[in-house]
Symmetry: C2
Subunit: 173 residues, 2 copies
């Protein structure tokens, strides 16, 4: 079970990046997306709409307190993984990470509270260069799943894209 | 030599996503970023600023015509790779891709002209699910480089992040 928690969402500034984080979380094999920061029903509805159309059992929530959500998660057996460019190199932790069955992955925004570093069992960097929470999450998930997520099937929904050499093939399910 | 071309940038709507595409291109081992669509000096300057601070020889350009840029590139020996959720599965093309030495990677926006599919030597999907051009580019580059890009060194610049278990370690170069 993999959950992805987005820290400190700001409705106006972050709407597209946060949407991309949520969609990448879904497409690349996580089970739940938790929005924190400003509430944003429209954004959550857009992501729910993708789930309705493309299938899968991805769930989407809002939490008023990221800290409470993380602390509650830590009472169980799961590990909290914070993706940050300041963290340890993912290539050094890859073996350890793959053994974790339940993880809450914290994906930061522009200002991450120090508490997130403290609460995390692992602070992990996908390169120590600045890039994007979306690309960091993508590579993290691809490695966590050994690339198998690229072949995951999404049950339900009503449309499906057929791989195509040169055009768009959309099939009704 | 890997170049990343961003299609159809819109200054207001896309500024953050396009910035993330450019930074992911840099951090994950490409050599050049070409912006097309609306001109956006501010965005390009922000990315140049990251190069100045964090190093590396990444170059950043604007092109008025994506089509001319792609056609010109095709006169050389390189291949044009268009990342799209409608394309062929990356896992099926991975071996072929890794043999390509020079590639122009087209990264779409919300509306991709049909011509992009035609001009591309490969239309490649990182899953046929909707997610993000940033995550698609990240996984593409990670696979192209066999993960080695995570260890790339960036020469020059004046700061460097040291991997850390629990905090932020910024070192002056």
């Amino acid at each position: 079970m993999l959950k992805v928690l987005r820290l400190g969402h700001r409705r106006e500034r972050d709407k597209r990046i946060t949407t991309h984080v949520a969609l990448a979380a879904r497409a690349l094999g996580s089970d739940e997306f938790i929005l924190t920061g400003e509430e944003d029903e429209k954004l959550l509805d857009n992501v729910r709409d993708v789930v309705d159309r493309f299938g899968g059992s991805f769930t989407i929530k809002y939490s008023e307190s990221w800290e409470e959500t993380v602390k509650k998660f830590k009472q169980g057996k799961g590990k909290v993984i914070h993706l940050t460019m300041y963290g340890e190199r993912i290539q050094d932790l890859e073996k350890k990470i793959k053994k974790i069955e339940n993880a809450l992955i914290i994906v930061g925004g522009e200002k991450v509270p120090g508490k997130a570093y403290e609460l995390a069992d692992y602070n992990i960097a996908v390169t120590n260069q600045p890039h994007s929470e979306v690309s960091a999450l993508a590579i993290f998930l691809d490695r966590y799943h050994n690339g198998e997520e690229l072949g995951f099937e999404f049950q339900g929904g009503n449309i499906e894209i057929e791989p195509s050499e040169s055009g768009k093939e959309v099939r009704k399910k």
